[in-house]
């Protein structure tokens, strides 16, 4: 079976027991991770499903995406989360029931276990991520984490993916909170077999070259959001960061707690990785400067609170954001239709179904025939 594992893990939080469910090649090759996740949720009843697309982790441009599916909707898992999940040995992880005490799921090497961790209930999402990485001894573990807002099942709670907010247009934090699930961690130490490696590489490079001839060089978020070209934003820019396999990244890291030009490792929390366009639009509309926006987003991410909802509730400056976070609630500001939200891209369904980034492919122009030409050497069969 090429590019996939052929199995899902079923974790019952109420008992802490994990089991495996075989996923046939036929089922996986149908090509929609979204539909398969929905089907697994239906089968296992009120479940939360983390999953990957058929092409996640392949060399098709920007094949970084996984997903989280719940009754609240579907959110993409970008950065390295999707590929690390697949390389951990599962195409899907189905989480059902509610745990009697707080803890996290830890997936690697084809094993998933529930790690009881009551002390994490008092931690913010960044401390949870750092503690899981320290306890398990690997800095590249990906952690999908709810913060205190998710624990308290606030409507505007948002999932942080390895520190950063921006993918959760469905407000999944409360789904984690009600299960006493402080996070899901995974590290991919496995491998994906491909049918014709050189053919896959050659076809993927050809498609990427075609995209590059039209898109030019990425300027990070400024290539996707014009206001990132403003001097206030660009003066704080440290580096541009890609998700796995992305040739035209949309992520720009701004430093506010040390000189953005400093390249050596120094401050532990120097700033924030910006790609959350709906929240940036909400924040800039209040007149906040890039520095205060960055600090606000850091504090929202730690709390697991959607910045666009916090700001939409009336916060117009950093002090207002802090006050809102201290109050502990804000009405949900709909993100799914907001300009620049992942859910709003017309490519969302097709891309998440396959494991591709909807933002990159909206920019490059999604051509499923071209994607098929890249994918088929790897799959050793037609992509349906």
């Amino acid at each position: 079976m090429y590019l996939c594992n052929g199995r899902a893990c079923i974790m019952d939080l109420s008992t802490g027991e994990a089991s495996e469910q075989e996923l046939s090649e036929e089922l996986l090759m149908k090509g929609s991770a979204v539909r398969l996740a929905d089907s697994l949720r239906d089968e296992h009843g009120d479940a939360l499903v983390l999953g990957t697309g058929l092409l996640t982790g392949s060399l098709v441009p920007s094949a970084c995406a996984g997903l989280i599916s719940s009754a609240k909707g579907t959110m993409p898992l970008l950065g390295f989360a999707g590929v690390e999940l697949k390389l951990a040995g599962f195409d899907f992880i189905v989480i059902k029931g509610e745990s009697p005490e707080p803890g996290y799921l830890w997936a690697r090497d084809g094993i998933v276990e529930f790690v009881s961790s009551p002390s994490m209930a008092s931690m913010d999402s960044w401390d949870r991520t750092d503690k899981i990485r320290a306890d398990q001894g690997d800095r590249r573990i990906q952690v999908v984490s709810a913060g205190p807002w998710g624990d308290s099942m606030r409507e505007a709670s948002s999932i942080a993916v390895s520190h950063w907010l921006g993918e959760d247009d469905a407000f999944m934090g409360a789904e984690f909170g009600r299960r006493k699930l402080v996070g899901v961690a995974f590290r991919g130490m496995g491998e994906l077999e491909v049918s014709d490696a050189e053919g896959h590489l050659t076809a993927s490079l050809a498609l990427r070259a075609d995209h590059a001839s039209r898109l030019g060089q990425s300027a990070g978020l400024a290539s996707y959001w014009d206001k990132a070209r403003d001097s206030g934003f660009s003066s704080l820019l440290h580096r541009v960061v890609a998700c796995f396999g992305c040739p035209h990244p949309c992520r720009s890291f701004l430093k506010v707690n040390e000189d953005p030009r400093l390249m050596a490792l120094s401050a532990k929390e120097p700033g924030y990785l910006h790609f959350d366009i709906p929240s940036l639009d909400a924040a800039t509309s209040t007149g906040m400067g890039s520095g205060d926006i960055t600090t606000s987003f850091m504090e929202c991410a730690k709390a697991g609170a959607d910045p666009s909802s916090v700001i939409g509730a009336g916060a117009t400056d950093l002090a207002g954001v802090r006050k809102m976070l201290a109050m502990g609630d804000a009405p949900v500001r709909t993100r799914s239709s907001a300009t620049g939200s992942f859910r709003a891209y017309p490519t969302f369904d097709d891309c998440i179904a396959l494991g591709l980034c909807p933002r990159y492919w909206a920019k490059a122009g999604l051509d499923l025939d071209a994607v098929s030409e890249c994918a088929e050497p790897a799959l050793g069969r037609e992509l349906r």
Partner: protein, 109 residues
């Protein structure tokens, strides 16, 4: 011939460490690669570590490159690069240089 690394051009896409395994097998995995990404994501600090045949480990840090004998792993949980095979330049057409989207990795004669 050797690989040149310009770490400030790196965007941490991970493609180099993923295609390296294709030199030995029809698999995609960063676990057997001779080049690895070192990432401290919260600090936005990242660079590359390359195990070479002649120069030992070449560490391309954003603040400057060095050759050194170090652990050079992605963390104790991952396979340390010192336990991996050194880069053989894919027999003359290094895949990491082919796939690097930013020109961070180049072939130097």
């Amino acid at each position: 011939m050797r690989l040149g690394l310009e770490s400030l051009k790196c965007v941490a896409c991970g493609l180099c460490e993923t295609v390296c395994s294709m030199n030995r097998d029809s698999t995609l995995t960063p676990m057997s690669s001779s080049i690895i990404l070192h990432v401290e994501d919260k600090a936005d600090y990242f660079g590359l570590v390359l195990k070479t045949q002649d120069e030992g480990l070449v560490v391309a840090r954003p603040e400057g490159q060095s050759g050194e004998q170090g652990a050079g792993s992605s963390g104790p949980g991952a396979k340390p690069i010192l336990l991996r095979e050194p880069c053989d330049l894919c027999g003359g057409d290094p895949r990491c240089a082919r796939i690097c989207p930013t020109g961070c990795i180049t072939v130097v004669d």
